[in-house]
Chain length 255, copies 2
C-alpha cells in the first residue's frame, strides 16, 4: 500500500466513431455504459469525442487522446462493411501495418462454420494493427482489439458490454470513486450557495446538483463524490443536516 499509488488519478478517454451518431439516427449508449464501468475499475472518464467514419478525424483524435489519458477506448467501425474503417484509420495514425490476426481468424472461422462460412468481408473483422492482442467477444465472434493503451471495441452496446466484462479487473486503476445521493423537493437555486460552501468545506468532495420537474413540482437530486470514504461520509452528513435545517426534508438514495 503506497500513498503515491492510491492518490494517483487514472484517466481514460473515449472516441465514439460513427456517422450514425452524428446524424442523430442512433442514440449512443456507450458513453454512459463505459463511464459507469470505468468508475468501478477506479478509472475516470475525462473526455469523449464523437467523430465521423473519416480516417483523418479518427487519427487526429486517437493521437491526441492516447497521449493525454492512461487509457483510450474507441467504439464503432469494426464490422465487416466498407464503412468500417476504424482499424485502418488507427493503424495509419500509429504508423503500423494492418495484419490478419491468426487467433482472430480462427475464432471467426469457428463462429461462421455453421453460419454460412468465413467470407472475405467477414475476414475483415480479423484485421488488427500489427502488435495488437485480442479482447474476447462472447456475443458475436469478432473480437475487440488492444494495442498498447488503446482498446478498440464494438459499436453495438450489448457487444461492447461483453467486451467490457472480459476486461473487468484487468486494468490497473486507482481508488474507485465513491458516491452517495440524496434528493429533496427543493428548487436548486434556493440552496445554490449552501451547496457551494458545503463542497468547499470538504476537500476531496464534489457535489453535483441534478434538478427535475415531476408531479407538478421542482426538486433535485444531489450526488456527492469522493475517493475517500470518510470524506464522502462527512460531506453527505453536512449536506443532509443543512438541507433539513433549512426546511427541506431529504430522501436518502435520491428521489
Amino acid at each position: 500500500m503506497s500513498t503515491v499509488t492510491s492518490d494517483r488519478i487514472w484517466t481514460a478517454a473515449l472516441i465514439v466513431i460513427g456517422d450514425e451518431i452524428l446524424s442523430g439516427r442512433t442514440q449512443d449508449k456507450n458513453v454512459a455504459q463505459i463511464a459507469s464501468w470505468l468508475n468501478v475499475q477506479g478509472i475516470r472518464l475525462r473526455e469523449v469525442r464523437v467523430v465521423a467514419d473519416d480516417a483523418a478525424a479518427i487519427g487526429e483524435a486517437v493521437n491526441i487522446l492516447r497521449a493525454r489519458s492512461d487509457y483510450l477506448f474507441t467504439t464503432g467501425g469494426i464490422g465487416p462493411t466498407h464503412d468500417d474503417i476504424t482499424v485502418d484509420a488507427i493503424a495509419a495514425a500509429l504508423g503500423v501495418d494492418v495484419i490478419v490476426h491468426p487467433e482472430a481468424e480462427a475464432v471467426l472461422e469457428r463462429y461462421y462454420r455453421e453460419r454460412g462460412g468465413l467470407t472475405e468481408a467477414r475476414l475483415r473483422m480479423a484485421r488488427v494493427p500489427r502488435g495488437s492482442s485480442l479482447i474476447p467477444n462472447r456475443m458475436s465472434g469478432a473480437p475487440g482489439i488492444r494495442f498498447e493503451n488503446i482498446f478498440i471495441m464494438a459499436g453495438v452496446p450489448h457487444i461492447t458490454a461483453g467486451m467490457l466484462d472480459a476486461l473487468t479487473g484487468t486494468l490497473e486503476g486507482g481508488a474507485p470513486l465513491l458516491s452517495g445521493q440524496v434528493g429533496s423537493w427543493v428548487a436548486e437555486s434556493e440552496i445554490a450557495d449552501f451547496l457551494a460552501s458545503t463542497e468547499r468545506a470538504h476537500a476531496g468532495s464534489q457535489i453535483g446538483s441534478y434538478p427535475f420537474f415531476r408531479e407538478g413540482r421542482v426538486g433535485a437530486n444531489f450526488v456527492v463524490r469522493a475517493t475517500q470514504q470518510n470524506v464522502l461520509d462527512s460531506c453527505m452528513d453536512a449536506l443532509v443536516a443543512g438541507l433539513e435545517e433549512r426546511g427541506w426534508p431529504v430522501t436518502r438514495g435520491g428521489i
Copy 2:
C-alpha cells in the same frame, strides 16, 4: 440561386459539458436531438466533444471547434449553482468580460416573481459573455445565449428542445441532407461488397449499414444519404434491386 451556395456544406460542432455525462450518471440525449435538428436546418454535425465541468477543458474545446465549424453549440452548465461554469469558461476562452444581460435579468425577474423572487443564485442565469444576444427559453425562464457563431444552450433536453425551436429557420444553412431507408433480413457481411460498390457507383451518396438481431434472426437497415434527390433516388433504386436480385426481399422504410 447560386451553385456555389447550394454546394457548400455547412458544418457544426457540439460540446456537451458536464461531469454527470462523464460519470455515466446521466444518459445524454442532446447529441441525437441536436444532430437531427441540424440536419433539417441543412447543417451537418461534424464533431462532438464531451468535457468535464472544468474551465480549461471547456475553453480548449471552444476555441478549437468554433474555428473549424460554421457553428458551435454547447449544452449544459448554465444553471444557478456553483458547478455551472459554462458562461465564465467560454467568456475567458474568448477573452471577453461577463456581464448581467439586462433583458435576461428582466425575463428572470418576471419568471421568478411568482416563484419566490430573483435570488442572487438565480441572477447568475442572466450572466453572459459581453456582446451576446439571447435565445428565448419558453420552458423555464433562463435564456440560452448566442455569441457570434456560438450557441450556449441548456443541458436538460426538453429545455434545449425549446431553445432549438426558437432557432429553427434562423441559421444560414446549405442543402438539407436527404435520406431513405430499407431493411432486410440479411447478415450485413453477406452483402458488404455489394454495398461498397453501390455507394461507389453513385457519387454524392453514402450508404450506412445498421445490423440488428431480433426475433432470433439477423437483419440490417440500410440508410442512403445524399443532398440531391436524383442521387438519393438512383442509389436507393440500385440498392433495392441488388438486394432483391440476391434473394433478400426488402422492407421500404426499414424494419
